[in-house]
Amino acid sequence: MDAIVSIRNMTVDFDQGHRFVRALHGISLDVGRGETVGIVGESGCGKSITWLAALGLLGKRARVGGRVMMGSKSLLDLDPNGLAGIRGGKIAMIFQDPSSSLNPVHRIGRQIGEALRLHRGLRGSAAKAEARRLLDRVGISNAAQRLNEYPHELSGGMNQRVMIAMALAGEPEVLIADEPTTALDVTIQAQILDLLRELSADNEMALVLISHDLGVVADMTERVAVMYCGRIIEQAATDALFSRPVHPYTRGLIAALPDIVGPKRRLASIPGTVPPPDRLPPGCSFAPRCARADEACTDRQPELAGVGGDSHDVSCLHAAELAATAMREAANHELEQA
């Protein structure tokens, strides 16, 4: 699959006044046309920063390294005008809290209209008709009336639909959804996820879903990257990742999830906490919390390398051995199911 956006060795350092603190340690990630990619990890792992940096949204205190290619364009080298054309145009982004992303003092119609004017050059009645069509498209009934309402008159789920309509205004090739349903109730989350799935399939739009919720990512995506302390530590097809997780952190995350079906069991928690970015341990960042860690792990950070084909990449010194365990467990599990 040819990549529509391709990130290579991206690093981000934040200026702390007297020194720089590295938040992202060389991320490489491709997103194919129409592909749905999930990015999971706990707070502070760099999953949002990756995309904010790629779109030049981090501000002056951040120093961004590496390359972000979209076709022949290098996004990090574009001037502000060029970047503004990409943002909201070819790449759109929606965030967790729709009511703080929308402007509270402007009507919905005006806010969608602004996106249509900037990215499609539509004005007047043409813009209004298109705005109405977009609201219809995202499942808001009574679109003509909604255009004249303010964000506070709509529910959280409705506002997220408005955000999605605005994102669609530029007919993007990539939609980056950063925790799009985290602030919403479960039944509303199901509606929004359905909508995103449908839009991505209909428009051949790539979807990058950033989430802390493994269930949402498992449900929605074809491929998943797991991040920890500013690095991708495991990357694989979604089925493979959840049925045969290899990295001890991924395995820990999955074991830590309570479940709604099956026998009740004590949760397996990962000991300790995520270290702050300016106090990373030597070697593998996960080593101090890892049951499998030995001396070699504190020596060097392992490279992200393939295990067992199928483009399943893991960054762990014990990957080969753990992959064998994962295979065995998956086989046992299948036997139990049968």
């Binding site: 199901a190 498992a218 999830l257 309570p258 709604i260 099956g262 009740k264 928690s269």
Partner: protein, 337 residues
Amino acid sequence: MSAAETPLLSVTNLKRHYDVRLPGGLFGTPATLKAVDGISFEIMKGKTLGLVGESGCGKSTTAKLVLGHIPVTAGEIRFDGEKVTANHNAQWRALRRRMQMIYQDPLGALDRRLSVADQIGEPIQIHAPETPKAERDERVASLMADVGLRRDMADRFPHELSGGQRQRVVIARALSLKPDLLVGDEPVSALDVSIQAQVLNLLDDLRQSTGFTALFISHDLKVVRQMSDRVAVMYLGRIVESGAPEEVFRRPQHPYTQALVSAIPTIRRSAVANRIVLKGDPPNPVNAPSGCPFHTRCPSAIAQCKSEVPALLETAGHKVACHLVNNAPAGAGIAAE
């Protein structure tokens, strides 16, 4: 449930209504918001009741009512036989020290200017000021050990701790008076997955060692199932289904519970195939629908649902408030598919 067991907390026909004004007219139109509209439940000593539901269903209001933070509109709350009122007098304070609360946001619940040790010792200082300092310090140290905080963290301040550590401080503080009832309002919702598991395990261990009774409120069904002996599902101020978590979540009877359970994304089953996606948003509690509050979104509503409020009746081992289930001949629940 044997006859020997006595409920520590029993709530009967609890209501909490608010007078609000809707836009319209010079000073708006008066209306009633029924945050909690006639719920009853009991929690046996040493057991945990999980209360689930979406935002605005009244689960947090229930917590505040149970603790006597706000007065009830109607109904009765009895804690260990004594009536809980919102008159903040000596009697309430005596009850309140036996009921403690854990909130969702630990940073908001802690005093930023008190060290960890002072936070945990503060309730003892307030409710048992006669306790000598040495004894208090000893109690604080043992509480810190119980919740897994290192000794050297005693002098730290909330902003120096991680989210999980802060929630441990909140839990230690809540346990400092050896409460009989612990009310947790979304106690792990602000925490990351790996930390959430740590805190849930911790609460489970503490419950086994100290034997407290708990009311556990969460929007997350998976977390509630993990923690509770019984669950109650709320929708617009009413309990629509209750019973043992295995029963309620494996064979949900009420159409709302069915949709809720099917909508949870999980990595261990492919849910997309048989997911029930409800149309629309929950109605505004100010003009809640007549009859069954869920009928506006219910895929299988009948005429009766619009006019009559269904009662919470015992069916197949758990209680359901739904005309379709309650009218159906025995053994032919609508969840048969």
